[in-house]
């Protein structure tokens, strides 16, 4: 999509919230071998082979945010989330899940399959989001997906004092890591996750620092399950 619209005054700026830095991000942005996406996720994403090839070698800026600064500035509590910013640097849609849905939670952990109706719903959600994005790129402020300032403001909300404390704790953890003191850093990452249990970026990043892969491990699965009827990705209200 970036290639299609690169000459239409549009760009993607991708930000990897990765305390692990370039080493953690590199295999995804410049893979030595093709990335294997599980079949049910492929079905939801419904990409062509060309789209996979393009996604594996992005030509738009891919930035690395070790302190999760962008998550704090734009109030993103999960990934992937996206913000639409217009030519004047105004936010026309605050952070929201970029088409992602809770469909993956229906995956059977033994067979790695997802019920076909859930696959279809996931695919439809992504398609709706992409269509909205195309509409904005083509019609700008006239697009019906550009929120009014009042709506955008209401959705932007704002952090609580606890959120601010959690963000500070997380950043302190990362500073201690940079000083070569991971054993002191860990309690601060855990503190951020404890203060804001619904901010998954803290919880999963803290797990991943313990061991690569742990962010999707048993602790994550258990916490997901404990959500019950509550959502992992917020509902996307396109209009």
């Amino acid at each position: 999509m970036y290639r299609e619209y690169a000459d239409r005054n549009f760009t993607i700026v991708a930000v990897a919230l990765d305390t692990g830095g370039p080493d953690a991000v590199h295999p995804f942005v410049r893979p030595q071998e093709p990335i294997v996406v599980p079949a049910p996720m492929q079905a939801i994403m419904s990409w062509s082979p060309e789209q996979y090839a393009a996604a594996a070698a992005p030509t738009y800026p891919c930035l690395i945010d070790e302190k999760h600064v962008v998550a704090e500035l734009y109030d993103m509590k999960n990934v992937p989330m996206a913000v639409w910013i217009d030519e004047e640097g105004r936010i026309v849609r605050p952070a929201e899940p970029a088409g992602a849905t809770d469909g993956f939670r229906s995956m059977d952990r033994k067979t790695f399959t997802i019920p076909s109706d859930v696959v279809e719903a996931g695919r439809a959600s992504r398609a709706r989001y992409t269509a909205a994005l195309r509409d904005w790129i083509e019609h700008g402020a006239q697009s019906r997906f550009v929120l009014s300032e009042d709506d955008a403001r209401a959705r932007a909300g704002g952090p609580t004092a606890t959120d601010a404390l959690a963000a500070a704790s997380f950043k302190l953890g990362q500073c201690l890591r940079e000083q070569g003191r991971p054993e002191l850093a860990k309690p601060w990452f855990d503190e951020a996750a404890r203060l804001c249990p619904d901010r998954w970026t803290y919880f999963r990043q803290a797990l991943q620092l313990e061991e690569v892969g742990k962010a999707s491990g048993p602790e994550f699965v258990a916490k997901l399950r404990a959500l019950g009827e509550r959502r992992y990705y917020d509902e996307i209200r396109l209009e």
């Binding site: 549009f10 600064v69 932007a156 004092a161 500073c175």
Partner: protein, 139 residues
Amino acid sequence: MGITLIYDGRACGVSSAVESGDDLWLSFEDLTAASGWEHKPEGLCLGDRCVPIPPARESEFIAAGDRFNLAAFARYLDQPVVHDETASVWLFGESALVRGQALRSLEAPDFRLPDLDGREHALSDYRGKKVLLLSWASW
């Protein structure tokens, strides 16, 4: 052992700093070097903004006429303050109020981050284009 102070994302060694529980006392010189806040007759000033110190509470913030308690001042401004006792690192974050006001202004907050080759990009480099700011993670 030296004390490190991180204010506005900028780290600074502060030789004059003295820790006392949740308080951090600095010389006025170090205060300005580390945080930008300057002690003036009208109060504490950062750029155009001045915050008067309530006379009745002056002793919480100023001691011996030349030492300033930055931690107490940050709490007064509702800024989050966290410190690691073992490493003697103090981090001062942004208050929820300031962050919320910034979000509701709908001005996209600028940031500067490196790409995989270490080249820095600012969001504002892309002014004049529509930007889809997309977060993801390797985990």
